[in-house]
Symmetry: C2
Amino acid sequence: MAERGSGAAARLGASAGVDQTAVRRANLARVLDEVRRGEVVSRADIATSSGLTKATVSSLAAELIDRGLIRETGLRRDGAVGRPGRSLELDGGGITALGLEINSQYLAARGTDLAGRVIVERRLGFDAMRADPETTLDRLAAIAREAVTELSGTGSSFLAGIAVAVPGLVDAETGRVRYAPNLEWRSIPIAEALRERLGDDVPIVVDNEANLSALAELHSMPQPPADLVYLTGEAGVGAGLITGGRLLRGAGGFTGEIGHVPVDLDGQVCGCGRRGCLETKIGLPAVLRAAAPDLADQDVDPQEQAHALRQRAEDGGPEAMAGFDEVGRWLGIGVSVLVNLLNPEVVVLGGYLGTVAPYLVPAAMRELRERSVAGDAAVCRITASTYGFSAAVRGASSIVIEEIFRDPLRIPAAEKAAG
Amino acid sequence: MAERGSGAAARLGASAGVDQTAVRRANLARVLDEVRRGEVVSRADIATSSGLTKATVSSLAAELIDRGLIRETGLRRDGAVGRPGRSLELDGGGITALGLEINSQYLAARGTDLAGRVIVERRLGFDAMRADPETTLDRLAAIAREAVTELSGTGSSFLAGIAVAVPGLVDAETGRVRYAPNLEWRSIPIAEALRERLGDDVPIVVDNEANLSALAELHSMPQPPADLVYLTGEAGVGAGLITGGRLLRGAGGFTGEIGHVPVDLDGQVCGCGRRGCLETKIGLPAVLRAAAPDLADQDVDPQEQAHALRQRAEDGGPEAMAGFDEVGRWLGIGVSVLVNLLNPEVVVLGGYLGTVAPYLVPAAMRELRERSVAGDAAVCRITASTYGFSAAVRGASSIVIEEIFRDPLRIPAAEKAAG
DNA sequence: GCTATTAGTTTTGCCGCCGTACTTATTGGA
DNA sequence: TCCAATAAGTACGGCGGCAAAACTAATAGC
């Protein structure tokens, strides 16, 4: 038995009775999803695996083809008797999505088509802390415009949306950044600002960098788990939480703030003014102090610091190894909090934590195994990010694509040729 | 834009294409929900508030009446011009649900009808730790049988399901208790055992006590929030987490285990063997030691201890007040972890924490406000449980009822009179 | 008793899935 | 070469279910 009632829908108050277009929508999504995840699929395959009839699948496939989402490739000749199936695959070359990222060190853009093929990729070093928000947004809009041009370059294409990743607390409903410590931004209406600069014919959404990275990592897996935690570490430490297959957003969108969970009340003073926050134990500055003191205090790109740190680990100096072991233990303590509360299937380490993951995970796993209340049943694996520092932009572009997979009707049908 | 794709459904693999009965189901649920939450509602009211047409609502209402879920009461005479509406209200006198609870100190049962009217209520002191699981389940089954008889006593009624609350880690999929520390149970297949004893014509589900309490508290609110945390304190400390309107279950169902989050690594040794778990700070034994040392170490019902403790607080002795202040601070630290990670709208204190809530909340709120990373925007209210120690059984019976509200088609339609 | 107003039902139409029958394309054996 | 056998995909009728509009029903106010 499940929980809640018609819940969220009902609380939205008025409007929105369900009609059969909802059925169509769900089944279109179902077929599209089936095409995406199978390498070679025929209508008949989809019919058996989805429980829909062949006739219905035919009609759904025809509509998806009409909207440019899938296409027929050749016949499937596998030597079996009977009429060979006509295999379907993702089309979507004309359907594009743009992801943007604002980071304290750089601005980035990534444009893909429906199948995830990268069409544009830009990354521009930019010190957002020295520039004011207006200037930063001007630069970002300029990059976005270039990217949009390139996306539409190869013929008539449909830009489905733009998503922006920001390192801070974001109100995803309104697309406003409430507070971004590394940028020193407070209450900046990003979505609105970009709509002013780019026009409002394309939907623009804004979300937290950790949330989007979590989605990117989720979709990088062959069998995406329903419960995943993405833990990112740079200057600060944050988490993107996916539970029950969806992002956990909470009442105001302020979730995953694990950096300031107190783990050692007598520990060092944190930037937030309190003592012993997890960040003071596993944040990049802390690790540099512990494992490579000579690299600390340099005002360089965290990504470069992470690589230097990894180099140090590979060299295997005793100081570095002891430092990593210590940090790994604290990481395990932090992860154990997440595991005991959320019971994820996997914890993905991003940012610098991902870069040096091999040197942290053993100690972390030891600590985690010891601290898991539910015992081995709840102990999950801890893996390094597959996308590293590009996870956030990837998440941004993929969230746009995923929305199409959730509701294929967003893509307009091809116009009927007259006469 | 939303996250994930067709996600969960797709991962379930085969079967389940969506057809129009899904639409019917959703709209029946919508209408039923509307009737439940409005005091007086006519079909026309529902049509305007739901966006469905009057004709559709009429048809839906007729079906709900046919299934005995709602009924027409008189006309609505409010002096307005026009034909008066025929008001609808919940019927469901013939539809019943049974909640059971296994606690280390007692066994309980609670049977209600669809509208939540209590028909049976039993509570039997029982020391489950001294009895073995078989005996306990025999006793529980006996109570359940009595309750079922009483439920069906008043004419032909339909028992929609049985739910069991257990203080421990539960695999809700299979209805098996994996580990219940206070009962010293390991891997007991509760659902199966009850099906053997009661027959398997009624669906039986098993869930964690904190989860069910969280649902009970959620439904006790006039405007149920989408994100709520229920924090229970007796011997141990646990949480039931509701996010996005649904229970957060995690990969294996082991969520909300906040009792052993380390908050003071140099603190006292906990029952789990580690130091400074939250439980050692705000568990009932700890509080008794801090605020009323003379009450500690007594092997009595926690509920009585809680009341004695509250009495102590009302008397206002300085020792007690200082103790409560200290515990309140640690409670605030624990809650801050939940708030920074999950950003709930409200935290409900259950168990003894609810009993003495007024004496803990001020200090806890102070600590929380100071530790909320997102500032005041994320600070939530902390309230005392409305149901106290009966929340779990209530949750158990209500989860059965809620499932009907989610899918009214579970209730069979009235048989057509022949000829 | 007539009109305006609001509630609820009936009718018709359309959408979308299902079941069945049919067409198409292939293998393999006579 | 031709004819099963087999499987893929399509065409068509049927039915469930919602929408829109027309219609009937019940009330207040004049």
